[in-house]
């Protein structure tokens, strides 16, 4: 106990938090209060008066969260008590910001409104999460169909490139559309991929962790070792070529690397994987104009030629202006100018929140994400079953990595990509996928504790 490393300390610290549905219920009350406060502040700041309109944006998601809470109470009583309130906090904050941007759009005389849709999509996503909890009470059922999940993921990834239904937005081919309904299948694919990797790696753990021949003290991996990583690297490049989006490609490849590393315990995979990833990204930036333009905008966002270029750094720079305007405590909800940032309701909602909630808000939001990720890793850490361990790790890592890529992109740490900010950004497929991740993590945490008790 006296010598505890940081990596050990964090899960130990988090163990101190009680997990129960009652704890969750108390937190949900708090979160609903925060949402009401945010909506009220927005109405007061934008129109100087409060109206009953806010019930429309507050009540349905709150009711949905309570329904989900009820379902958890009924089927997975011992599931983690923090995940639902944390995810719901972010989701409601996103709705509030989208509502605030809608008000600005109405003032401007515009027609592009998103909040109403986001409310119902959030409810739908939480309902789906409840269904996932009900259906997948025992996560081991997922282990039965790894190849099916893998195949489904591949199909979903290829769909946006398909004729008729495929859609390209802002240079990235990430959407499919049927009539008015559009969908981003890549979001669902990340869950299916995590299930596939977990199932595949658990069955192939042995061979993959065998050490190859040694030459000059270095471990030279055998072809068998290199096979899967090369295959998946090529697949990621294919995703990059087809979907024209670096973020999605890195997200899947990163997920693969971390899961194969965890399963085999071999750092070699991470090392060579990172080299391949960087090489691939650099080569892609040379070969494909759309990736190269993103790199230029990233490296020199303030250069006039990038700022004025079509698809250049204008959006990024406007986002930075907004965040700088927010300063430490923020302009206050409803009191900034996030409407000046293109796509503030989706790709750049992080910058919009940074402007109105300031550095304090950004830290809080990042801390919430990190807490969700830590809870997920804790489940991975404590679960006895290897498949569940891997799945919990994969799901929480993919969530954390996505936040890193999106927030890093918005803040100029990484090149900008087409990924969405989990729970916050307007968009149904992302909400659905991320709530499904929360649902799966719940189920996994419940099954973990159930085994201990049995």
């Amino acid at each position: 106990m006296s010598n505890v490393s940081l990596t050990q300390a964090i899960p130990m610290l988090l163990k101190a938090v009680p997990r129960s549905r009652n704890f969750e219920a108390v937190l949900l009350f708090w979160v609903a209060g925060i949402h009401a406060f945010a909506l009220a502040q927005i109405q007061l700041a934008v129109s100087q008066r409060m109206s009953w309109d806010m019930l429309y944006y507050w009540a349905p998601p709150t009711i949905s969260a309570w329904i989900l809470h009820y379902v958890l109470r009924k089927y997975v009583l011992n599931a983690d008590g923090l995940l639902l309130p944390l995810a719901f906090l972010l989701n409601g904050l996103g709705i509030a910001m989208i509502y605030r941007l809608d008000l600005a759009e109405i003032t401007r005389g515009g027609q592009d409104l998103f909040a109403e849709r986001q409310v119902w999509l959030s409810c739908f996503a939480m309902l789906i999460a409840a269904i996932v909890v009900r259906l997948v009470r025992n996560p081991l059922v997922l282990r039965r169909f790894p190849y099916l999940a893998g195949a489904a993921a591949v199909v979903l990834l290829l769909l946006p490139a398909a004729p008729v239904i495929g859609r390209t937005l802002n240079g990235a081919t990430l959407w499919i559309a049927i009539g008015d309904l559009s969908f981003q299948p890549g979001e669902i694919a990340k869950i299916l991929l995590a299930i596939f990797f977990a199932g595949y790696l658990v069955s192939r753990k042995g061979p993959l962790s065998e050490i190859g021949s040694r030459v000059l003290g270095m471990k030279i991996p055998s072809a068998k070792d290199l096979g899967p990583i090369l295959l998946f690297w090529i697949a990621s490049i294919a995703v990059l070529v087809i979907q024209r989006d670096l973020g999605t490609s890195i997200l899947y490849f990163g997920l693969f690397l971390v899961m194969i590393y965890t399963a085999t315990g071999r750092g070699f995979y991470v090392g060579i994987g990172l080299v391949m990833m960087v090489t691939g990204a650099l080569v892609a930036s040379r070969l494909f104009g759309y990736v190269g333009a993103r790199f230029d905008a990233w490296l020199a966002p303030f250069a006039t030629e990038n700022y004025t270029a079509q698809g250049g750094s204008y959006q990024l720079v406007q986002g930075l202006f907004g965040m700088a305007h927010g300063d430490v405590i923020g302009a206050g909800l409803g009191s900034g100018f996030p409407q000046l940032i293109p796509l503030a309701e989706s790709d750049f909602i992080f910058a919009a929140l940074g402007e109105e909630l300031g550095l304090a808000g950004i830290f809080a939001i990042l801390a919430i994400y990190l807490l969700i990720v830590y809870r997920g890793l804790r489940i991975a850490n404590t679960h006895q079953d290897d498949f569940s361990k891997l799945l919990a790790l994969g799901l929480s890592f993919v969530l954390g990595l996505q936040v890193f890529i999106v927030a890093g992109g918005v803040m100029g740490l990484l090149p900008l990509t087409g990924l969405t900010t989990p729970f916050l950004a307007a968009g149904g497929s992302a909400l659905l996928a991320n709530w499904a991740i929360i649902a799966l993590l719940m189920v996994l945490s419940d099954s973990s504790l159930r085994r201990v008790k049995e």
């Binding site: 590393y261 303030f302 202006f321 940074g354 803040m411």
Partner: protein
Amino acid sequence: MNRQVRRVGLALTVMFIALFAIASSIQVVRTESLYQDSRNVRASYETYKTQRGSILVGETEVVTSVAVNDQYRFLRSYDSVLYSAVAGYFSIFTGSSGIERSMNSLLAGQSSAQFFEQINALLDGTPVTGAAIELSLDPAVQRAAWDALGGRKGAVVALDPTTGRILAMVSKPTFDANLMAGHEYDPVNQAYRDYLDDPDKPLVNRAIGGDLYPPGSVFKLVVAAAALESGRYSTTTTFENLDRYRLPGTSTIIQNSSNNTCGEGALVTLEQALIRSCNIPFAMLAVDLGQDRIRAMAELMGFGDQIAIPLSVTPSVYPIGLELSQLALTGFGQFDVRVSPLQMAMTTAAIANQGVIMKPQLVDQVVASNLNVLSKPEPAIFSSPMSRETAGLLTRMMVDSVGYGAATNAAIPQVAVAGKTGTAENGPDDPFTLWFTGFAPAESPRVVVTVVVEDGGGIGQNGTGNQIAAPIAKAVMKAALNR
């Protein structure tokens, strides 16, 4: 496998720490540079949605923000063109000027002094209310200056030499700030363009900025002060009394404005030369004294300084690297000497206030919307360019100048007025720039007044400072003394 899970956790933690770091860098370290990027419109947007503070003269609000029912919420309203030059304009589309510009952050409620009000506004979602600026201007003096200048082009500055408070500041022609305060782009832009294209430059506050003026004979005060302070000259130092003088190293001949000698006699004293405002003795004095001493005195008085009152004052210029012939010309304020009327008022204030210039100031106090006084500039010494004795000698000469010399039109019955006129040449055929600078009462000065009139007051090369500028100053001094 748990070891790997912990390592993945550590990797994610590092990634998030990178996000925390870059967010801190953007929102703390780089805020200022990002905020000031010319492509960032937030800085200007920010100021529209607040109720800007009023600008007051005496008890009267001369500039206010009126609530209106549009997206900008408040319309800036300017009561009178009397204060346009000082108050300036505030436009959503074309920028701002004057107090509206230099005190913008306080007026808009965005200064760091208004932190708690910002927090309040943040919590209840109401817009911040800006602070009110109380100007030092005196409405009666300002009105007198405005009326006395009449339809002429030029400027008037009046200040209290003992405190530096500016009592009047008029610049003509001027502009109607309401035309640029509107919320519709086209009329505002049209009005702005018209003002910009006007050759008379109505948007320029001539009292402190623009192209500055050649000072002519009022600059003799600076030269005389430098001479007396050098210890090498007294009021009785004599110069050869010539009616024509050839500039050293050239064949150019200059004359006194009388086209004659400076009074009777073969010799003329420094005192008489100043009272009668003769050019030849001062040309000789400048050559004898040397440019370094003159420049040193000018700089002590504020030449070359970036002065903020808080409007920024264009620095006055005494040129460097002068040839002797040019140096001689600067002795009576010609060649490339360029001054602002405020600079000449400060020079005069040094003489009036026993050698000490008080920092000129347009703002009495800044009052937050909760009636807290946010700032109240105390009188402060700007510089002490001359001794009390020198100031006394110059005062006596200036009183005589008004009494029987070159500035008689500024005389007020029962009051000892000290004054100096100037009639500066611009080009061979261009109209003169006419000056008067002085103060009253001479024994315990309460007001310094500097007047400049462009284009010879409309009568070409026929007008003199005494004829056109002195009566204007007289009217302003009377108004100030009657308070």
